[in-house]
Symmetry: C3
Subunit: 204 residues, 3 copies
């Protein structure tokens, strides 16, 4: 029950971040709505395609689609207010990312994926929406450039898979993986951590 609510919070945060990008890119009402919804449920759709779950569960889920829809429309009409909540959205987005990484890995394990594939598919659930968002609005995905976002997602889903392999109970594993992924993401945001770029000759 708590998990369901937290997942909805993550969906809403994802949709808001996507819709804000759509507003900045001067998309029309449908564009803002599509980018918002895709950011929210795109990772889950890719996950389900990889796992042979047809049609993807997000497409039949009124609760997910409705929340993402409502959040996107809200952003469209109140984006000046919403964009002031940037910090709060980043925190909720970090929570959504952690939850999607661990629940995605859990769904992959239940669908019979091997450990390596389950960890990768879990991380894909968490970062896929953001990559699709940036491809749609014609930007190099932010998380390939400087955001420390994918590493926490990979860590969270890897922890869940490792815990499962070691026989740890599912609830403990979910909490552990989510707290680690979300915590590391928040720490990176707070401290401004980022990964290095390759050194260019003239920088040597």
């Amino acid at each position: 029950m708590l998990l369901k609510i937290l997942e909805l919070v993550g969906i809403v945060a994802f949709a808001m971040s996507g819709a804000l990008v759509g507003v900045v890119k001067r998309l029309d009402l449908f564009g803002v709505f599509l980018v918002g919804v895709f950011t929210a449920v795109g990772g889950g759709i890719v996950r389900d395609l990889l796992l042979d779950i047809h049609p993807p569960s997000s497409l039949s889920n009124w609760r997910y689609l409705g929340s993402a829809f409502a959040a996107s429309i809200l952003v469209f009409y109140m984006h000046t207010v919403v964009s002031k909540l940037n910090r709060e959205i980043l925190v909720l987005d970090a929570l959504g990312m952690g939850l999607f990484a661990t629940t995605g890995a859990t769904i992959a394990i239940e669908a019979g994926a091997q450990p390596l594939a389950a960890a990768l598919i879990g991380a894909t659930s968490a970062i896929g929406g953001g990559i699709l968002r940036d491809v749609l609005v014609n930007e190099v995905p932010l998380l390939l450039q400087r955001d420390l976002y994918a590493i926490p997602a990979l860590l969270g889903s890897a922890v869940l898979v490792a815990a499962h392999e070691l026989g740890v109970g599912q609830n403990v594993a979910l909490v552990l993986g989510t707290v680690l992924a979300t915590g590391l993401r928040l720490l990176a945001l707070w401290r401004g951590w980022s990964l290095p770029q390759a050194r260019m000759p003239r920088e040597d």
Copy 2:
């Protein structure tokens, strides 16, 4: 029979619009061909992936691929002539969009998708090719920016699903949904309708 012919007309119109974009973007012969074919059958491929139809039916369909191929090559060699037919292509494209939305929703229902998923997958069949086209040539998809294109597609597939739920015969539902989607699209083109963008502060 008439349906098959109309679908081919839609495929050809989609391929022409895609190939014209490829010519404008200065792609080579293969690029023009690939973008044309992808615009024509990309929506159907995504639909089949979502519905677990493997391999996607378009990939085994000589008639579809051949028509899209021929249309793309024609555009490559005669693009100055074809681009003068812009208005005619837009009308045929609207017809193809309406048909794909309703036949896509029908295929989704037959594959066992629930109403919400069937409506979304039908619309995806209709708009997926255009989105893939714009992503391939590195543009923000036109239908996210100002074209009133996706709403008619959603309407057409929603009408088909609703008619099916209400027990309306399939042929009636197909005609109804297609006429509504194509009609609304043509009306929007004719009257220059478009969706609003989000208001920016200095516009208030």
Copy 3:
């Protein structure tokens, strides 16, 4: 056995070309790694999605992912050295392309795809990674613009499918298709062959 080694060589060449693009685009360590790995295994993932192989075999294959990972990291830290080997990478990449086209078509035939679909899916295995790479870093895919890359891939997979239809043994067909595809690609690189662009009015 030899085939496995050659495939790993192709994977490494693909990953290197992808990671080099990531370095040029100033991605961070994760970005370089993701683009490298995606270039290497993206075509195979799309192939498996089209053929209903779940989860895609590349995602459970430590050898492939590990090689692609190692090659990407190597490029990140030693890109000045690696980029001097551009010519050697192009040759290995041509070998990988030929192998992926023929092994992809073989896998498609074994999964029950019809000849046309098998040839197209084989070519997709070979060129899909490069297209995904360019979409991720926000460029119009090189092979749509001027590279003679997709035609050799289509030729190689078509030869394999034709040989299979004619009852030629699988090993002979694999060698034949791969040599033709790789040979044509190398010849095109050597002689600077490319496909024409559409003629523009003022060029007439």
